[in-house]
Symmetry: C2
Subunit: 645 residues, 2 copies
């Protein structure tokens, strides 16, 4: 049997009932369709709490048209939460509407006054809170005194409307909401290979520069012993020499597997010292969680049942015909015996627990889409039960629905297709999907202009302006972004025309870099990270809105605002690193808090320059040759009408 009111299309939610996601301090939009039969008005609120709490916290929902009700909640604790929508007939407002309409045409309302007295007296009895009860009782007295029902104070009416009427109060099903710490939704990552810095000790010396650029997370490729069997040589060749370090993703050697440290990087104590140094610089360290084994991994001999054997007795190596990856054995996540499955999954959980004991709380997960979704749902829940602060980033460059499903089953953050979106139309379409589509309730996009695997698009043999432009986009389009080191030095040499690899990829070789190069983008990255921290607008994804550039697909104009509208930022990016681009903009002033004829100040946070603009159609031009790749404009004060300088 249905409830007295209908409550449906509740947000936030995921397609298959997994928890939606929020973060501490986030303003989380909540919405539902709420309606009932007939013409009476209805009222609704969201009740929410951390799982285990007795008391519900309450926030009102407001009607926004077409039977939709909307509001927000702001979690302040990490962990599992639940919420439900509560709705009831708003009899005080319906009554008031009724008496006002009758009074307006001179009808007698004496019976309505009696009905009002009964209504407010009844609600006063069921209201929680002495203040509300007193207000409703004074309405009863006012009506009894013979005063016009139209003199009931609006504030008292509003209080009465907010009392859930026990006659037909209806609660929706409970929905789950997982709350992460705030870094899960707002962070700037920097990826680098400690081995190129001489191991953990040398890598520690890089931390000051990374922190100075404003990054808050350093992510390290796998730090474990690397297999010797079929070890890859420079540029992904199948022959390696004795000095070739091999790919860190070919995990495991006689020196250990996923819980060991590559002796070339240092000892456990060196690693602990590195972690301490990072913490001293305010940097969090993220480790790579790559569930695969080199043929030399201890599990291969200790647990052959965790691998798939072929009819000839060999273990199946990774293969995507005609490509072969003889240096990597995939794990068999569904072995024939249930006991083997449980043991493997527990071992995988043990790896996380091992590094959590070092204080690691962020894991970047390699290729999660090649492991079962059921495994991730189990693993992430187990880990976050141990510590709800743990964050997982899914490196799944796969099909859209699989990517979304990984986010749904628990991944905190997701790599995206950003790397393959270059021009304004496709960037806009993709951001609309990420920020305004249904996945925004549970999938947090993490933008990377490059990774050790991907040197893409305009960065390939690209000029410094390409690196600058893509950095602005990654840093300002989404609250989560990261770069792989070398980006700031405009490293742009592709391995070939056939794939997206770097020439002399650091995956197979040590890299030596000139960090003091005068061409470094470090100052721009520092600016971007500063402006991201300074402006609440850039910590939001949902508030992004796009503005017209007169059909110029090489200019992207977008704005972001703080949830309360207090901070409005407008960004215009030249997507063409090879020449100047100009356009008359077509701004949607309403989302910037402006009126059509306003003259207003815009301050470029990158250059410090201030302009005065009037109306929705300013003209902009960005010339990379003059060092201009973007305007990052704070919308400032509105100026009085009249001639301006």
């Amino acid at each position: 049997m249905l409830g007295r009111l209908t409550i449906s299309e509740v947000r936030p939610r995921t397609p298959n009932g997994c928890p939606a996601k929020a973060a501490v301090g986030e303003t989380v939009p909540v919405a539902a369709d709420v309606f009932r039969d007939g013409h009476d008005l209805v009222a609704a609120r969201v009740a929410w709490r951390p799982v285990g709490d007795k008391a519900w916290r309450l926030e009102p929902l407001q009607p926004t048209g077409n039977d939709r009700f909307e509001g927000t909640l702001q979690p302040d604790l990490v962990g599992a939460h639940e919420f439900r929508i509560e709705a009831w007939t708003d009899r005080p407002a319906t009554w008031h509407h009724h008496v006002a309409a009758k009074t307006a045409v001179g009808d007698d309302v004496s019976v309505e006054i009696e009905e009002g007295i009964a209504l407010f007296a009844r609600l006063a009895r069921s209201a929680a809170g002495a203040e509300i009860r007193a207000a409703l009782t004074s309405v009863v007295e006012l009506l009894r005194s013979g005063a016009s029902p139209l003199t009931v104070p609006p504030a008292s009416l509003e209080m009465a409307s907010a009392v859930p009427d026990p006659i037909d109060r209806t609660n929706s099903a409970k929905f789950r909401l997982w709350v992460d710490r705030s870094q899960a939704r707002f962070a700037a990552w920097y990826e680098f290979f400690p081995r190129s810095e001489g191991g953990f000790t040398g890598a520690s010396e890089r931390l000051a520069s990374i922190a100075a650029m404003g990054f808050d997370t350093v992510y390290l490729p796998p730090i474990h012993p690397i297999g010797l069997t079929a070890r890859k040589g420079p540029n992904n060749t199948t022959e390696s020499g004795p000095d070739d370090p091999g790919s860190p993703w070919a995990i495991g050697s006689p020196e250990g597997g996923h819980t060991a440290i590559d002796p070339g990087l240092g000892t456990e104590n060196d690693f602990r010292a590195f972690l301490l140094a990072a913490r001293a610089h305010g940097l969090e360290v993220a480790l790579d969680y790559a569930l695969q084994c080199s043929p030399d991994h201890p599990w291969v001999t200790e647990h052959p049942e965790w691998f798939r054997h072929r009819p000839d007795g060999s273990i199946r190596y990774a293969e995507n015909p005609p490509k072969k990856y003889q240096d990597i054995y995939p794990l068999e996540f569904w072995p024939a015996e249930e006991a083997d499955r449980k043991a493997l999954w527990q071992a995988c959980l043990g790896v996380i627990e091992h590094w959590m004991a070092f204080g690691i709380r962020t894991f970047r997960v390699d290729n999660p889409h090649t492991k079962p979704l059921a495994f991730w749902e189990w693993l992430i829940a187990e880990v976050q039960r141990r510590d709800p602060e743990v964050v997982f980033l899914a490196e799944a460059f796969t099909r859209p629905k699989v990517m979304a499903a990984l986010a749904e089953v628990g991944f905190s953050q997701s790599y995206t297709y950003f790397t393959w979106r270059t021009w304004a139309g496709e960037l806009r379409e993709y951001l609309e999907e990420l920020a305004h589509g249904p996945t925004v309730d549970f999938m947090r996009p993490h933008f990377w202009p490059n990774t050790p695997d991907i040197l893409g698009g305009q960065l390939r043999n690209g000029p410094p302006a390409a690196f600058a432009s893509r950095a602005v986009l990654a840093a300002l389009l989404t609250p989560l972004y990261g770069i792989y080191s070398g980006y700031e030095l405009n490293e742009n040499e592709p391995a070939s025309e056939r794939n997206e690899e770097y020439l002399h990829s650091e995956k197979y070789e040590l890299k030596s870099r000139d960090w003091d190069s005068p061409d470094t983008l470090a100052p721009l990255l520092t600016e971007l990270n500063t402006v991201r921290r300074r402006h609440r607008a850039f910590q939001e994804l949902r508030t992004i809105r796009f503005h017209g550039t007169h059909g110029n697909d090489a200019l992207l104009a977008f704005s972001k605002t703080a949830p309360d509208g207090s901070d409005a930022m407008l960004v215009i990016v030249n997507l063409d690193p090879h020449g100047p681009q100009a356009a008359t903009l077509d701004l949607d002033l309403s989302v910037l808090g402006l009126e059509a004829d306003d003259t207003y100040e815009v301050c470029d946070e990158l250059t410090g320059e201030t302009y005065h603009w009037t109306g929705a159609h300013p003209w902009v031009r960005l010339d990379p040759a003059a060092g201009q790749v973007a305007h990052v404009l704070r919308i400032g004060a509105t100026l009085p009408p009249g001639p301006v300088a």
Copy 2:
């Protein structure tokens, strides 16, 4: 714990888990997102059955891109059905893809052949059906014989793919599907007031003409005794004379309530004779189910607890300030006492049962949106448990979400906003929503160009061409449509400019009509009902597609096709009854089964004329002054290239 495969976004379904709807003989689209981790291919099917059957019926689903799988099912029994999606890893196809890729580059596949032998042998053991087992066993023998794996017959591979692999076969949750008789989705209704024909006996004499026009359902406004208290006079005046018949919707007098017959119409036996006459003409009779009472209804004295009393002791009459309906008391569907609620709901069910005993199987429900959704969910389920052939039409001209919710909880058919959609753009947008939006799974739109309450838009003081044009739209845009009698006589006089009532509305007066008028639209209605029956395309809603009219908003061009593509109809309607309209069309030839350069025959089913068109841009002109309001074109044979007459 999730299954091995992910199955989500299943269609058909409703937002809150009520049954989706289908009808006997309908080709019902079924779809789901189906995917798993990794790169292996997956296969899926739909398993469905009448509730209570043991055996599932099975239909394959095919991948259509982006991890979507689609297929159809065709129910042949009325009543409750259930279905689920079943999916598994398609190891035969994955294996074949793998060996083909390796063979192409000359790699050794001897281990793959061993794997194939094991795979096909295993599937042969779990396959249902001797034929399939034999085919898979012969694949095993073929591979054992040393033949190339590429020689495995495609038909055998396909059979193997269709065997649900027990290793990871995953079943979705069960979804409910309610199957109505076919008339629930395809019918032509004719509404008339028997009292204007002198009661049931006179009304019987109208049936031959109604049947001759091709209608299949006659719907009668309430046939019950009408209250005297506050009875309405002509043109909805509050004063009535002794000869004024009153509104049939003011139900109940000392002569009885919802189970009685107005003596002015005849006796129960007269009604039975009318039903027999209707059946003899192939007409089904639909009754009005209007759950409200005149102040003289027996329930008012027998069951005062079913009405809402005001503080002064009076019963609350219907009121929407400043409007008052003193001749109608609403029922209180949630009285304070649960026992009273149960008794009232049972009494309402009793009314339906009473008329079912007369053989009535179709009810048009008056104002269902002013009664609780929970009531309808209960009532319709109770009735359809007694007889699944019963059909309910919801007369709910209310907000979109309430309208959809009524359909979701069980109404078979729904009145719509068609009456207020006049021009091509708004008609197109509305049909796209009805035919291609999510409600198509459970809401069947029923188009009425007029009702006794609504003389709207171009019909008000409109010329015959307006009536012709709106009849074509109603009859051909959706499988369900109806007219209220007098429409064929172009009755066009509005009561006032302020509302949509008819002047001298039949709701308050008897009407005398000249059925032999030479201006009757009966020939057009006959043509429309004939073409609807002849063409399966017009029995479909989902296959509607719109075609360009070069921006002319006064011309609507749409096509419909049979689900198997065998029947393609193209309709062009002039929406402007006052003058000719012309346009160069922009046809989407692919939906008509044509190629860009084809020359093809089009036959106008209204005029019998045949044209030869080439390409996507024929020119059309429709002049109402010449009797042309629409082309109803059957897309005929494609002609050989070359000059045509």
